[in-house]
């Protein structure tokens, strides 16, 4: 349980260098206070390391909740599922991270091989080693290397023209798996940027409701109704869903540092006091590390 006054500001969706952000976990921990944030969470893609670092910092200026953002997929589509307030040492969530990491490493290696075989793009051994040592190597990291070597002019070209030429029969984490692992680790599973699916989709109206109902069936407990990329109309629609299905409500910017256009704290919720009961219940029920 955490006490915040009505004027407090929160941001529960931030990325660090552990995934695709540009600020280290330590830097984020300092930046939040500067941005006037009173409660924050770090939600790296498929990685807990940033949270473990922050939880171990000797002093924090703002209250902190452990977080993670799982990229999930099933027959019906792609989802980003946030997990909050889990025990970072719990086995279920760590097992799932390892599994996801294994898929990702395998895929990255296959991609590197593919662009070498098909297009003759080669990198230095040291570069590949560093790439594979990242917590979460992915397409953008490969693209950066390609640009560095002059194989492509920009990220879009690197990904569309070359990397995406090979489609994998990929192995992936399913939403029900992610939700279960979060719950079994003492956390609260929340659907990230619901209308935007995996970040790039647009899911509206009845389709959104069907998606939400399926995920509720799997055990999802909340929705990120306040989000940097949402209009007032989308926010109020999601708040209505939250009320109808008695879901928790959270607010996040999806800040990635200077990689993206989003500012820290920018999530369309200026003060906690403006949030609905679902947000207050979330703050009441989620496990925080320290204030």
């Amino acid at each position: 349980m955490i006490y915040l006054d009505d004027n407090a500001r929160i941001d529960l969706h931030l990325h660090t260098t552990v995934s695709d952000g540009t600020d280290t976990p330590e830097e984020i921990a300092r930046l939040v206070k500067k941005a006037g944030i009173d409660l924050f969470s770090v939600t790296d893609h498929d990685a807990l390391k940033g949270c473990k670092v922050i939880a171990g910092l000797p002093d924090l200026d703002a209250a902190f909740i452990t977080g993670v953002e799982f990229s999930c997929k099933d027959e019906e589509g792609k989802y980003h599922i946030l997990g909050y307030g889990y025990d970072p040492d719990a086995k279920p969530i760590n097992d799932l991270i390892s599994k996801g990491h294994g898929f990702r490493m395998k895929k990255t290696k296959e991609r590197l091989e593919f662009i070498k075989d098909r297009f003759g793009f080669e990198f230095a051994k040291q570069e590949i080693k560093e790439l594979l040592e990242l917590d979460n190597p992915g397409k953008p990291h490969i693209a950066n290397l390609m640009i560095k070597h002059g194989y492509a002019n920009d990220k879009k070209e690197a990904i569309r023209k070359y990397i995406d030429q090979k489609r994998f029969k990929s192995e992936y984490v399913r939403p029900d798996e992610a939700i279960r692992a979060i719950l079994e680790s003492g956390g609260i599973p929340v659907l990230a940027h619901p209308f935007y699916g995996n970040g790039g989709d647009l899911i509206i109206g009845e389709e959104m409701r069907e998606r939400l109902v399926r995920l509720i069936g799997f055990g999802i407990k909340g929705v990120e109704a306040y989000y940097s990329g949402f209009t007032d109309k989308l926010i109020s629609q999601m708040l209505a869903f939250a009320e109808e299905y008695e879901l928790y409500v959270t607010a996040g910017s999806d800040y990635h540092g200077h990689n993206k256009i989003i500012e820290l704290g920018d999530n369309n919720l200026d003060r906690v006091g403006d949030g609905p009961a679902g947000l207050k219940r979330f703050l009441n029920d989620v496990r925080t590390i320290k204030a």
């Binding site: 879009k156 209308f195 990329g229 209009t231 007032d232 109309k233 989308l234 993206k260 256009i261």
Partner: protein, 530 residues
């Protein structure tokens, strides 16, 4: 990057977006936009999306981000596909979003109507386009759409444009109008439909003038006419100019609708339905201002050059004259030529005022041909100003739906006549009560369970003045005067229900007659009002 290009035009920075903006390039697009906008404070920002094919949620974030720094952001040239995305996600509520305009050609299309600010062409079997004279007509189009919607909500049959298109260098608005023919065309080609045209044209005119418009929804015509009067100060002798202003100022405010350009090209027969089009001149005000513009449309514009009408209306000056006289007689509800001439003279005062002002503003006073015309109109106007002492008139007849909701309109009509004749309070109350009784009877029983009309005729004549009130319906034959009088000596509990109202009618008026003729119940009440 090819997706973003900046351009500074006057005080506006235009960001041209093209192709796809999605998660692969949204970040880069934002960086470039930020660079273009950097340091350009005080500029308005507009996004030109005419070459934008697709925008994903990542692209939407870019728009949101731009709007955050530039709340007045406007997005133009949006394709239907992109518009749908912006609409579903609520962007159209937060940002001014203008759709891209379809391009339509009117080459070889039939002209079917022409109004003050545009011409209407048929572009295919089902659709017409109104092309605006003014190249920058978007505000006008928006205005016309809004007033047309207002009119439709208030029960006036009209067509509402469903699309805005580009026609050459102008804009046009597109309407669905199936097989419609204007009344001008019918009058020109089907002389046997003359009487039918008069009736339908007057019915619609009465419907318009019987429509009360909520405050503020339409402009007041009187303010416009006042400005015409002011303009005339420089072109009339002082006394006449003062008289003109006084006449205009004495017309009371009126919250009933007028069309403002009610000529036969603006009334269309669409299947069985008579439709009003060209709604941009819609206003509220006294019907004399409508009659003035109608006088001009049928007579005033052509008095000095009768040949000219054929070009515009398709029928000749004689037909136009006859149509105007018939319409006026039907609208006022009398065949009394003297009375009709009096009303026409009132209309001419405003009609000539408008013609003179229009001609001076368009041609100045130096052109030989128009100068003669202006002098002719001015002489007529001065003559009228010596004779006309009020612009007010009262129609002697109204037709209402036989519905108790219209009771108030019926009583208002009667009271206006009585007020003008200086009726005593008592006599007015007695006549109102009688009228109410008969009106409600017709509304409840004459057509039940169907619907129908009630026609009310009212005149006050003679010295001392006598009011004659006639109510006519085409419902089942029924003589209310035959109803047996109740025995008023009995106590209230003992009396039969009903019949008391008619008894009161009989007591309140000096004389009453009932007649059933040509399928009509005609009840006439006569009462001395002093």
């Amino acid at each position: 990057m090819e997706e973003v290009r900046g351009e500074v035009l006057d005080k506006t920075i235009i960001l041209h977006l093209s192709g796809h903006i999605d998660s692969n390039n949204a970040g880069q697009a934002w960086d470039e936009i930020r660079e273009i906008l950097a340091g350009q404070h005080g500029h308005a920002v507009e996004i030109d999306a005419s070459k934008l094919d697709y925008i994903s949620s990542a692209g939407l974030r870019v728009l949101l981000r731009v709007r955050k720094d530039h709340p007045e952001l406007k997005i133009t040239g949006v394709s239907s596909e992109v518009y749908e995305i912006l609409d579903m996600t609520g962007f159209t509520q937060m940002i001014t979003v203008e759709k891209a305009y379809r391009v339509v050609s009117i080459e070889g299309c039939e002209e079917i109507g022409r109004g003050a600010n545009g011409t209407i062409y048929r572009i295919d079997q089902d659709n017409v386009v109104k092309v605006y004279n003014n190249a920058d007509a978007l505000a006008e189009i928006q205005h016309e759409r809004e007033v047309a919607r207002t009119a439709l909500v208030l029960g006036i049959p009209t067509a509402i444009s469903y699309d805005v298109v580009r026609v050459g260098d102008s804009y046009g608005s597109v309407f669905e109008l199936l097989n419609a023919r204007s009344f001008s065309k019918i009058l020109a080609n089907e002389p046997d439909k003359f009487d039918w045209c008069v009736k339908e044209y007057v019915d619609l005119l009465r419907k318009i003038h019987g429509t009360v418009v909520p405050d503020g929804e339409l402009p007041k015509i009187k303010s416009t006419v006042v400005s015409w009067g002011r303009f005339m100060r420089d072109y009339l002798p002082e006394d006449e100019s003062k008289k003109l202003m006084a006449l205009i100022q004495a017309v009371p405010d009126d919250n009933h609708m007028i069309h403002g350009d009610y000529h036969t090209k603006n009334v269309e027969l669409n299947g069985d339905e008579v439709l009003l089009i060209d709604m941009d001149t819609l206003a509220v005000g006294h019907p004399i201002f409508e009659l003035a513009s109608m006088f001009n449309a049928f007579i005033g514009f052509y008095e000095t050059n009768p040949e000219r009408i054929k070009e515009f209306q398709g029928f000749d000056y004689e037909t136009s004259n006859r149509f105007w006289k018939s319409v006026l007689a039907a609208y006022i509800g009398t065949d009394d030529q003297e009375r009709l001439q009096a009303v026409e003279d009132k209309a001419r005062v405003i009609g000539y005022t408008r013609l003179i002002r229009r001609s001076i503003r368009r041609h100045g006073l130096e052109q030989e041909k128009t100068k003669a015309e202006i002098e002719w109109w001015t002489a007529k106007l001065i003559d009228l100003l010596h004779r006309v002492d009020s612009l007010l008139f009262l129609p002697e007849e109204i037709v209402l739906d036989a519905d108790t909701n219209n009771l108030q309109a019926a009583i208002e009509f009667i009271d206006k006549h009585l007020a003008e004749a200086g009726c005593s309070m008592k006599a007015q109350m007695q006549l109102d009560v009688s009228a109410e009784e008969i009106f409600v009877n017709i509304a409840n029983y004459a057509y039940a369970p169907g619907k129908g009309k009630v026609r009310i005729k009212m005149t006050v004549e003679g010295e001392p003045p006598v009011a004659k009130l006639t109510m006519i319906d085409c419902g089942r034959q029924y003589n209310p005067l035959e109803k047996e009088d109740p025995d008023v000596s009995l106590s209230a509990e003992e009396r039969q229900i009903g019949g008391l109202g008619i008894y009161m009618v009989k007591q309140s008026v000096d004389d009453r007659t009932y007649e059933y003729r040509d399928g009509q119940n005609i009840l006439t009440m006569i009462k001395s009002i002093q």
